[in-house]
Symmetry: C2
Subunit: 269 residues, 2 copies
């Protein structure tokens, strides 16, 4: 028997009733405070995907980080307040010690083939095997779970307050081979280090407060990509009075837009 | 006594208990099926803003359109599952006849002055008074509630299937003078006609399923703009198997980014 992938262990949920689960944070995804938010987002989505009443595949997911998770156990609940013929709406909450630590909503749908086109073309970038691995050592544990090759907008090597563009482009995939699926896409959507650090070349305390992911690729195309590289791009739009947002895209190496995402992040000072 | 603005009547809520309200759809905002989604989004936000336990001002709002509202009464509930020192998280639901028609989450915060910068500059566009009003008559009632002057990407004059760019830029404001506030920004975020109509110059059945708004301007700067023009810009990112997304920005005429928004929309065929 092969042991499960670290990511699957981290997002594992044990059902205790219909739509009710227990889970636990994973030291493998430790961040500055609490776990990597991308994994917590994946847990919220997993609570939907494990639900026996699930209809279709994820189209939209919004997670709200209400508080930093403490290391240890949590509970998750997912309920579908509305099920239509081909779409379903979900409300999700994660709690620790009876206190809400995440609220979330999701929309799933039975998708049909239609006229389709990518309108945000993948930028022209060097191939993954021509981009070097970072020379800096990760400051937090979860970063070791991914291979990240920065094309543009890597973590500043000097925190000199100079800064510039808020845009990052990087090739990214799991460090240990694992095929892409909706949960790993949800996590990848949160893989970008804080735009305010890049824009200002200054480390200030930060925390994502809300993230939305729109899934443009279904389960089958994601599985076909397997452990392939994903091109991630993120760019801030506004930094204002303690909160900034960013807009992000994830493409397959073949140039298909897999997901788009947005988040709003608290920053101090 | 002056009569209230049509928008205020449409988003009005009568409290029935703490965080519980009744409201009713307004014929002034009728869309193809049910009311203009932007007004329903504003109602969800209003349920938070009217709550006696409210902390701070809105930073993030996500609304999920579970079903078209029927003309008539609805109930709204807003509860704050988590209140921190300076942020608060909200879960909102709208229902008709006991069935959920909208789920939503919001985050409010007591914002402090910090280092701030707009990173998505307002595009260079002609001034509002140099852009003509549309010559086409609105097909739906709610459009009459706004003045819209299209700079780029107006509603196709010929539905010939040719299409092109999915980007729209327009100057927009309420037709009847009303000062900007969070609820009107939430509604303006949904003012863009469906990108799929523009991209394909083809009318296909559509419906927004989820929309997120990040508020970058506080109540005071919004009030200062008053009844000023707002520059709206929206562009699709992907059309795929029945759903497309768009990313949108709203700037003041003075060039300040007031809000950013994203939505995912169902389309048939």
């Amino acid at each position: 028997m092969t042991s499960p992938h670290t990511f699957d262990t981290a997002i594992a949920l044990t059902p205790t009733a219909e739509g009710e689960y227990t889970g636990a944070t994973s030291p493998a995804y430790a961040n500055m405070v609490g776990p990597f938010g991308g994994v917590t987002a994946a847990v919220a989505l997993n609570a939907v995907l494990q639900h026996p009443a699930l209809l279709g595949e994820p189209v939209a997911l919004t997670v709200n980080f209400c508080a930093a998770l403490a290391d240890g156990a949590f509970t998750a609940t997912a309920r579908p307040p509305r099920t239509n013929r081909s779409t379903q709406h979900w409300v999700i909450e994660l709690a620790q010690g009876g206190e809400t630590v995440m609220t979330a909503t999701a929309m799933t749908a039975a998708r049909r083939e239609t006229w389709s086109v990518d309108d945000e073309p993948m930028p022209t970038v060097p191939a993954p095997n021509t981009v070097p691995d970072p020379t800096q050592s990760p400051q937090v544990e979860w970063v070791n779970r991914y291979q990240m090759r920065f094309i543009e907008g890597g973590i500043p090597s000097e925190w000199d307050g100079v800064g510039g563009s808020s845009q990052t482009q990087l090739w990214v995939r799991e460090a240990a081979p694992r095929s892409l699926d909706f949960c790993s896409i949800a996590a990848l959507a949160d893989v970008f280090f804080p735009r305010v650090w890049l824009r200002r070349a200054t480390r200030v305390p930060v925390g994502t407060v809300s993230m939305t992911v729109y899934f443009h690729a279904g389960a089958a195309p994601l599985a076909e990509i397997g452990h392939g590289w994903v091109l991630g791009q993120a760019r801030a739009q506004a930094f204002r009075n303690g909160f900034f947002d960013h807009t992000a895209q994830l493409w397959s190496e073949g140039g298909h837009l897999l997901a788009t995402s947005h988040q709003v992040v608290y920053y101090k000072e």
